[in-house]
Subunit: 406 residues, 3 copies
């Protein structure tokens, strides 16, 4: 049963076919934005098994002045996207469970207030507080001067690029899948024409959502690209005795400091003064199609998250263990990527700076599943075990890059 | 016949004398802005031979969030100005004809999102897509560290400076000339007090508009200044066999790469992979008052543009041939200036970094004329021929600057 | 007598106890801002001896687009605060008297348009025009590369940080003290968690206002901090023959250029071409509680300002004499601080880069008193004389730092 739409909804309504309702919230091509906006299964007249709602809201105060957030509530999870920050995911809440973390950075920072090249390329840290940050696509990794003399700032520019367009599509038919489409453009004359069509897709009532990103090189010249899906989790999942489990052929420390944590890479400490961060480089294993899974769960094994991705798209995995104090940001990162977190110049010799041809599109598909109890956690772990097979993860003590060499 | 004004118009109406109606759209001195706004010959009750309209509109989406454009439709041309970007001209449309180009940069970028010093001073490229960009006035040219150790970013700061005030003035009397006044300030404590009163002037029904800019040094100290009027044209005028014709005493290549294109400097290639850009430095010739003309026309010679300027104000001309592929930005620049496109430190020895005394005002007057048919094109070319006289343009093979020297 | 509040006021009203009315104008934690807003003794139904009003207004035009100002009129003074610029004080007006100056920078610049690291760390100069600028708290002083290789830009970041929250509190009881609370956060992952609760406090009818700032290190690690309260005064107080009087044990020139002005440190020249700036470093003397006073008055001694602070909080004083031409910015700075204006690396050996422990709060209390006539001026001068006692200020010819050493 479809009820008449209210005028507020109609403002953004681009098309309402027999297949799906499509709402254009932002569109740089026409220069338009709907402003604060919301829609719900009820306002759409959808008699849904699980009621859902989507709300766009403009934030104010401090450095978040003018930032738009988009909150998708699918009845199970409340997912907060940030169109102004490259369609990043601020957090996901589901009852007591939460995907996300408590960064010292409290505001959702408008990129207008960020200078990525400040502090020798660490300006990105002024805004880092999301659950999922895209680090790319022109480059990724630690800041440093590249071979051509250009400073590559930490983790690229896409997360500090406001989305050029934002659309919401809701299927007419049950289960009324919700899709949030956001286009993020990295366009610089003579330097880059990398356009990413991001998609977050979720069904009402589900404990899982998916990302389907398509990066296209719109230039007539081949270009390098890099991407890390920097996925960050703190309390309540991360705690003393929390565990990280994934299928991999090999793990090695990012640098000398991480060597001492190599043997205990799967477990986590409580918030620990002076821990700083330990980073590990993994070579993940997938199934025949390349699909793989990484699981983080709490000490009791009854709450966690499973991150799915494809190693043909994202062949390496960075594990970031930042179990420093709570105030400092107690968090771990599960980071599938084309590349590790080294500066680009170190990754070319590793073969981890891929190229994208003119007009070519690269796809990145990820899923995030809330593990809400022991059953769901056990199921996810058994999937990982199956992917791992009988060979254990090989621990390599030597970092892949000698950072003492400039 | 003057009809009563509507309340929307009255909001901005500053004065309505027997000579002209003046509308203040933006005024930093009082902190005010009218927001979206429009006026037309009809709304003003003017029984014009050619109806006209002017509209101010705020853009949204991506990096153009908060950008104001001002669209002047004089019945023949639709001229889009960008107050937020230094009163630059985004494009001019007239039926099938268009002054402008298709940059890989699609949005009209808010300077809040631009870091001019990024990429070693190439941040300006993040927003470059206009038909007419003022490159100045503190400095112009390619990025580089100046003699005092300061990085001069590409083409100065004025184009990424929002206009402090915007006024529209419409003559009461026929032909009801429309003038758009925008003040753009480059003010930095102890560094610069360069204020430019820009003016775009156009008559309803005309195929020509003029710029009358007045740069004043408000400081008590002499200062250097530089300006290039970077005027850029792509399709439909630019095409294989399009031609550039101007009166000049001499042409030389900007660098070694441009040497090979010296003999064919007047003609254009189709979009050409790996062409990149060739730049030529011209010494233009003017009439007794210094007025000169540069013409670009299509292959058939029935569509083009004539750029008029004064060589006493703008003594040199840069010709920028960027006939690379369409995606890369197929465009040519006709760039009258005080200076060539070299970094400032290279131009001082050439005598192309002029000074402006305390309180002094420098004037820059340019005109842009649409050439809509063979007759108008032929007329413009004959004007150029007359300026050129019997002496041909001398082709000098040696670049004026040896860029291999640091 | 309390009259019913209007709806406009109620929008921001957070609580209205028997003690005080509190209005939340901006709050990043909830993402809210009231927009343009005002309140007055009349609208509050307060039958005040001196009527007062407070107005928040958003500015437009040029680089001040989106800047919020907050104007407090206590019946004697009109104090203009700038929440968007770190709760700085733009100016204070009281009849013909004014605290503030005429900077070449005319707009109240939105930090979104400022790149602090531009011009080798001088970007701060693009926005410098306030009467009171907080220079800190991560660092202060002249730009330069610190020992760890990071460029420290001029005078830190706090002034170019929009306030995260803004509150107005008005006491119910006479004298109905008005307090403006603004929180300004310097938060960067792994780098800083310095949060400053600023407070401006003023009574209706008073010629004096106070600052009570509380800087808290929210991190779990000890951090350095520095602060200078850069308080700037031009005409009408500053003029030829104006005088600066304060209690100090010692004064020394900042650099070699200031040596020649050492003997005349207490008096001012008329606007003087090529004067540039002379800076002096003072070691102030306080009373038993550390309270001290610095007085600037005009030639006639019947108009001025007294700046009170505490030398246990702010142990040193910079005197900035910028008596260059009017256009250049004719101004003097009275700058109590933890530190002088040297780059941080030079101040560590001087013991002027203090530390703040995890969770520790540092308090900074200052007062600004308008001296409106000879009596008030004489009273302030006698307070300084009492603090000075019989020992004169010792003049040390040698700068404390040898700037010729890198």
């Amino acid at each position: 049963m479809i009820k008449p739409l209210t005028s507020a909804i109609l403002l953004a309504l681009a098309s309402f076919s027999t297949q799906a309702a499509e709402f254009v919230l932002t569109d740089a091509a026409t220069g338009r934005d709907v402003g604060n906006w919301q829609v719900s299964s009820k306002s759409l007249g959808i008699d849904a098994a699980t009621p859902f709602s989507i709300e766009k809201r403009r934030l104010h105060g401090g450095k978040q002045e003018g930032v738009d957030i988009l909150v998708v509530n699918n009845g199970v999870m409340e997912i907060t996207l940030v169109p102004t920050r490259g369609m990043g995911i601020y957090q996901v809440k589901s009852g007591d469970l939460r995907l996300g973390w408590d960064s010292p950075v409290k505001e959702i920072v408008n990129p207008a207030f960020i200078d990525l090249e400040s502090r020798n390329g660490l300006g990105w840290l002024d805004g880092f507080n999301e659950m999922m940050v895209r680090c790319g696509y022109e480059w990724t990794g630690h800041p440093g001067v590249d071979e051509n003399g250009q400073l590559l700032s930490l983790h690229g520019r896409v997360q500090n690029t406001p989305a050029s367009s934002v659309k919401v599509i809701i299927d007419d038919q049950a289960p009324h899948r919700i899709r949030i489409l956001g286009e993020v453009s990295e366009r610089t004359f003579k330097k880059a024409e990398l356009v990413t069509a991001t998609e977050l897709s979720v069904e009402p009532g589900s404990n899982r959502f998916e990302l389907h990103d398509a990066l296209t090189n719109r230039a007539d010249y081949v270009d390098e690209y890099q991407i890390i899906y920097h996925s960050n989790f703190g309390t309540p999942i991360l705690e003393a005795g929390a565990k990280f489990v994934t299928a991999a052929s090999e793990i090695s420390p990012f640098n000398d400091y991480a060597r001492k944590g190599l043997h205990s890479w799967q477990t986590y400490l409580a918030p620990t003064k002076d821990f700083d961060e330990m980073v590990f480089n993994l070579k993940p294993k997938g199934d025949a199609e390349g699909n793989t899974l990484a699981v983080l769960h709490n000490q009791a094994g009854n709450a966690g998250v499973a991150v799915g991705y494809n190693i043909q798209q994202l062949p390496v995995l960075t594990l970031w263990k930042n179990t420093d104090t709570k105030q400092q940001g107690y968090v771990t990162g599960i980071e599938p990527g084309t590349s590790y977190a080294y500066n680009t110049k170190y990754q070319r010799p590793l073969g981890l700076v891929p190229k994208i041809q003119p007009g070519e599109t690269k796809h990145f598909d990820l899923s995030y599943t809330l593990l809400r109890n022991a059953d769901e956690t056990t199921t996810a772990l058994s999937q990982v075990a199956k992917l791992q097979g009988s060979d254990p993860v090989r621990e390599v003590k030597q970092p892949q890059v000698d950072l003492s060499k400039k």
